[in-house]
Structure formats: C-alpha cells, structure tokens
C-alpha cells in the first residue's frame, strides 16, 4: 500500500521533473552533439594519464565509430563510489564506462548498475588473466566487469636484520609468529596499516583468509549473510594483531598508520618488516633520487610472499585493483564493449604497469623484459596476485568493512572476544538492527 502511494506520488511529480531536466539538457547538450560520432564517457580513477591515453588510442583505432570523453573521479575509493552510486541510482545514461574499485563491483552488479557479459564473452575477455582478479569481477557466476589493473601486498624486510636474526622471510613456511619473534628480538618494528580505514580491513581480511577462515560464510546472501569470524582463523587473526600491537615490534603510530606512514617507519632506522603494496620499492628508489633516502637502505630491502598464519596453510595475500565496468543505462553498450575490449589488452596491461606502476592482471605481462627490469619481484607479484584473497564479494561490502573497522580499531584493544563481537555487530548492522 505504501509502495503504491509512493508510486502514485512519483507518477505525478516525475513528468514535471523530467520536463525541467529535459529543458536543462537541451540547453547544455548543444555543445557535445556537434558531430555525429557517439561520445562514450569513461569515469576513471585519477592516474597519470594512462587511461586517457588508452581511451584516445582506442577511439582513433575505432575508425570514427566512437569518441571517448574522460571524467576523473575523486581520489579515494569511497568518494568514487558515492558519486557513481548517486548517478547510477538515477539511471544516468552518461556513464558508459567506469573504472571501479574491486571491492564495489559486486554491490554495483547486484543493484543492476552494470552490464553483464555472456559466458562466451567472459571467457574471451578474461583469457590469460590471473585468477583472483577475475573473481572480483564476478557476481553470482556472471562477469560484470573486466579486470584492468591489480595489486597484491607483499612482505618487505631488511635483509641485513633478517640475517642477523637468523630468519629467512622468503621461506615458504615463514609465519606471522616467526616475524613477530624476530622483530622483538632485534628490537625493530613491523609496519602495518592500523589506522581506522580500509587498510585495516585489508589486514584483517588477509589474516582470516590466510588462516583458512572466511569473514562471511555466504556472501551472496546479501544482508542475510552469516558472519563467520568466530573461528580458529578469526581467533588467530585477533591474536596476531593484538600481540603485535602490544609488543615492542609495533610502530608508535600503528593505530593511525596508513600505507605511507608504514613506509616511512620501514625506511627509518626502526624498520625491519613491512606489509605493503609493490609501489613502495619504486617510491623508495624515488626517495633516493630526491636525496631523502640513502641508497644502502634500498639495497637492503628484500621482498617475500605475504607471511603465513599457520605454517601448513599457504597465505592469501591482500588483493587490490580496478575493474572496467559498463553502465547498465549506457546509450551505446556495444561501443562501450568495444572500448573495454580495446583498453584491456595484455599489451595495455604491461604498458600500464610500466607507466603507472600498477601491476597487470595478465600473467604474460610479468615475462616482459622491460617489466622484469623495472620489477625485480615480478614473479613474486604475479604469484601473489594469482593466489590473493579478495575482500568479501558482497553487495553489502561497505557495511561488512565498516563493522570490522569499527570493532578491530585500535589494534591494541583487539582480544580473543573480538571476532565473536564482530560477528554479532556485523549481522545486526546487515539486518538493520544496529547503526553503523
């Protein structure tokens, strides 16, 4: 009944609003529709021009089939999502293509904001890509986006200190406990992202997946999903975080540290280990060029796969990245598919990795000699991305992540009851019984 009343209300008002919008549109559209060529609008996350370059190249190669206009979204993923959700909820037909953070693909797909691909198209488009990124682009077994760039956290360490402590972080069975012990022994630190933001979620998620657990047992159930943090893996994850945070191995700024603060501590005299994205190596080299860091520090940096939680279970490194998705309300879905096809080639993946420092989703990129030259850890990154553990693929990701960030911050206050508390809080939030 309420819904009917609502619909009736809308019925009367919508024509009036539509008219006002149409009037505004006719005055505005005059400039963009001069030529007959359809213009595709691609909403990108800010980069150094790499995506725009692909867009113009593809437009030129299309032989006049389409032009591409680039719209740049805000810097952080949350703000990008806010803007896209608002537009797509209003069925904005000007969003032909968007660069979407991996964590939001499921939400957008479930809301009907994205154009899905047929199994055949999906197989063609993702041919040669690494496994984990493809997972993030799927919702209920349908591909809704095409992985464009990826990322995986690695374990970074100071070679000299590891040698002194007598540990080998590159060993297959190196665990968080080994790392903790070595750092305490050497009176050095382990840098992590412990601030109250998405990075904390990345950490908790990686620990739980690496321990063989899951944050949600049935993420596809949306708001009826059952949190499953209270498990052996959850308890161990809480133990690892609280042990680190309450030991001498915790950097002083752990509870407010994001990626860059973690890097600063690792590069300083206190640093021994760090969990961070591959950009840190290039950033350290940049710091040497700028004269703010000594070359000997860079030479001392080693890298290894994300440490294990239990010695007998392989780790699931944290996964990042961006997928290309086509807006469900686009006026030119076929042209947009052409653009995606053209922009997401292996060659582009390789080039983006070289130009923008963002790892490729294609396995073959890592065999490219130039890539191997620029990334001494190319094989490690490829393997880490392939085996990475995505954050929960659920339409309620924002609630899930928010519940975890709320209950696991500050890291020093985490204890063995935290996972069970998170389960309870998360399911109350999902079902609308608590405010986030």
């Amino acid at each position: 009944m309420q819904a009917m009343a609502l619909r009736r209300l809308k019925g009367r008002l919508l024509p009036a609003i539509a008219m006002a919008v149409a009037l505004a549109a006719t005055t505005l559209a005059g400039c963009s529709q001069e030529s007959g060529t359809p213009t595709l609008t691609w909403f990108i996350n800010p980069d150094n021009g790499g995506q725009e370059q692909f867009a113009q190249k593809c437009a030129a190669e299309s032989g006049g089939a389409y032009q591409v206009q680039i719209e740049t979204l805000p810097n952080d993923a949350t703000a990008q999502r806010e803007q896209l959700v608002r537009r797509l909820a209003a069925k904005d037909s000007s969003i032909d293509l968007m660069s979407l953070d991996v964590i939001y693909t499921a939400e957008f797909a479930n809301a009907g904001f994205l154009l899905g691909y047929s199994p055949q198209e999906a197989a063609d488009l993702t041919d040669g890509m690494l496994d984990a990124p493809i997972e993030t682009a799927k919702w209920k077994d349908t591909l809704y986006a095409v992985p464009f760039k990826s990322n995986a956290q690695l374990l970074w360490f100071r070679k000299s200190l590891a040698k002194k402590a007598g540990v080998d972080p590159t060993s297959d069975t190196f665990t968080w406990d080994d790392m903790q012990k070595a750092a305490v022994e050497e009176k050095k630190t382990i840098s992590e992202q412990g601030a109250r933001y998405e990075g904390l979620m990345v950490w908790v998620n990686a620990l739980i997946l690496s321990g063989g657990g899951e944050i949600l047992s049935n993420p596809e159930a949306g708001r009826d999903a059952v949190p499953s943090m209270a498990s052996e893996a959850g308890t161990k994850a809480a133990d690892i975080i609280s042990t680190l945070a309450n030991s001498t191995a915790a950097p002083a700024d752990l509870s407010v540290a994001q990626e860059e603060q973690a890097r600063a501590v690792f590069q300083s005299g206190d640093g021994m280990f760090m969990l961070n994205w591959p950009y840190v190596l290039a950033a350290a080299r940049g710091a040497v060029e700028d004269g703010t860091l000594d070359q000997s520090v860079v030479d001392d940096i080693g890298f290894a796969r994300y440490p294990r939680v239990f010695p007998d279970t392989p780790s699931r490194p944290p996964l990042g990245g961006v997928n290309l998705a086509i807006g469900a309300f686009s006026k030119y879905p076929d042209l947009a598919k052409q653009l995606v096809d053209c922009a997401s080639t292996p060659d582009n993946g390789t080039q983006y990795m070289l130009d923008e420092g963002e790892p490729s989703v294609y396995a073959s990129s890592y065999d490219n000699p130039e890539v191997r030259d620029a990334y001494p850890n190319a094989d490690l990154i490829r393997q880490s991305i392939n085996d990475a553990g995505p954050r929960p693929i659920t339409p309620y990701y924002v609630d899930v992540a928010g519940s975890i960030i709320n209950t696991w911050h500050p890291p020093g206050a985490v204890n063995e009851n935290t996972p069970a508390q998170t389960d309870e809080f998360m399911s109350a939030v999902l079902q609308g019984r608590r405010l986030l």
């Binding site: 209300l9 957008f108 609308g432």
Partner: protein, 303 residues
C-alpha cells in the same frame, strides 16, 4: 503582520477582516511554493523511513513500519551523536550570546571608527562555513598549523581527541556566527528607549542595574529570537566536523549521521528516519522557544 490570533476576542470590523483576507491572498503564492519545495521531500523522507531500503539493493526493499526509529532510538551511536550535538549547541550558543551582546553594545556605542569596526565584526559571517572550517583546521593542523607553534604545543594533535577536537569545532563555529547573533542583538539594543535609560540614571541606577533592569528586559524579544535562530542553526551543524575530523574520535553530529547513512551507506530507510528525527527535534526546539519562552517573532521588527 496579522499574527495576533490569540489576543482576547475583540470586535473585528469588516475592514480588518478584509485586510486579513488580502494578507492571506498575498502570502499564498510564497506559502504554496514553500509547501512544494519543503513538504514533498519531507513527506517522501517520512515514507522512506518506514522501509528497510538500500539504494544498491532495490530488490531487498521491505516495509518495516516504525522499526527504524525503534532501532535508532535504542542505539548508542545515535545518543553519542545526540550528546555531541547538544554539547556543541549549548557551548556555542551560550558563548555567542555573551560575546555577541558585547559586540552589539560596542557597535551601538562607538562613535569614532564605527564603519571599520562594524565591518571587522561582520566579516567572519560573510565567509562560507566550509572555508572557515578549513581555515581553522589548517590553523590547528599538526604539520602546517601555527597554533601549536604559538603556544609551544609541539606535537599536540588537536583532532586526535574528542574534547580537543570539539573545542576547535566550537571555536570555529563561534568565530563564524557570533556576528549573526550580534546583528540581531544590535537591532534589539536600538529599540531600548533612550529616555528610560536616562530616567534610570536620574534615579541613581548603576550601569549594571541599568543593563539588567532596563536594557535586557526591553530587548528580551530580540534575545529570544537570536537564541532561537542560533540554536536551530547550531543543532544542524555539519560542515565543521565534516571538514575537520570527518566524524572521527566521537565528533559526529546528528546531521553527519544522517549524511553518512544516506550518502555513504545509501541506507535510505535508516537515513531518512534519522533525518525525520532531526526535523522533529528542530520542531521541538522551535516549539519550546515560541510557546515555552513566549518568543514573539514579530516583535523583533519593532511592531
């Protein structure tokens, strides 16, 4: 204007009736416009607040009656934000009233340099709230701020703790809106009859007595109106916490909570319920002022 509805019944002539009717007709267009612009969104928010509805999960939309209100009013997050808003409102309005009165008095009494002084007092009010929030944020920031340098607080993080962050938020709010309150009070001060002051002086009243017994009672209406406007304004504070802390460290206000539920979580049901509660609290404040303290909105114009 003809707001004298609860005056004792007097014989109303045809002419007065006609004037009243004319008044209604003249205000009708703007009244209708108000209804259109404000009543529709309000009604829509009330309807939405009865649903469990996510913008990104249209299929999961379900009618839940008053459950959203029930959840909110039992939730610690709401009461925490309610307290934060209350603290900000009480502190800023109280300080602004005193400082604003001093400013108004100075603006009234000063002879030389009246123009520059009035301009100086009014400038903050002309600055956009977001801009003023940024000014104060940068002033107190750890890396670029001058405040820590001035007072020798080397690495005190003002925004790292609830109360110090609220202190900066209140300070910014006071700096920005005291001019508004002092303008309203100046209007009231001007109305205090000069001969009454002189009579009191002749009777030997001290300056303090004249202030408390003559000036303040005579400008009660102006004070109440200023308080009403500022309280309503402060109760809906959003920009300062948003710019300065993003709601971290327990500095989230009710408006901010509504924003977060509606915009970030696109939880339209819960967000609308919070917005409706915010609206009801605003109505309650206005009601207390108008009925409880008998604030007559028409008096400030000196009718």
């Amino acid at each position: 204007m003809s707001t004298a509805t609860n005056e004792p019944e007097v014989v109303v002539s045809e002419r007065v009736k006609g004037e009243r009717r004319l008044g209604l007709w003249l205000t009708a267009p703007s009244f209708l416009m108000m209804i259109l612009v404000t009543a529709y969104p309000l009604g829509y928010a009330v309807v939405l607040s009865l649903y469990n509805y996510r913008l990104t999960d249209p299929g999961g939309r379900e009618f839940v009656g008053l459950n959203n209100y029930w959840v909110i009013l039992r939730d610690a997050v709401w009461w925490n934000d309610f307290m934060t808003t209350l603290v900000i409102t009480v502190v800023t309005v109280a300080i602004e009233l005193v400082v604003g009165f001093i400013f108004a008095y100075v603006m009234l009494r000063i002879i030389r340099g009246r123009g520059p002084l009035r301009t100086a007092i009014l400038i903050p009010y002309g600055i956009v709230t977001v801009v003023s929030a940024f000014i104060w944020r940068y002033a107190f920031a750890l890396d670029s701020g001058f405040v820590n340098q001035w007072f020798g607080l080397t690495d005190f993080n003002w925004f790292g703790d609830r109360w110090s962050a609220l202190f900066v938020i209140c300070l910014s709010e006071i700096w920005k809106t005291t001019p508004f309150i002092s303008l309203l009070l100046l209007a009231g001060l001007v109305q205090v009859p000069e001969d009454m002051q002189e009579a009191a002086k002749v009777d030997g009243a001290t300056a303090w007595q004249r202030l408390v017994k003559v000036t303040l009672p005579n400008m009660k209406a102006a004070i109440m109106v200023a308080l009403l406007f500022r309280t309503l304004d402060a109760w809906r504070i959003f920009d300062n916490p948003f710019v300065m802390t993003r709601g971290a460290n327990n500095t989230e206000t009710i408006s901010f909570l509504a924003y977060r539920q509606n915009v970030t979580l696109v939880n339209l049901g819960m967000g609308s319920a919070i917005s409706v509660l915010l609206f009801l609290s605003v109505v309650a404040i206005a009601w207390v002022f108008v009925k409880g303290f008998k604030t007559d909105l028409s008096q400030v114009r000196g009718d």
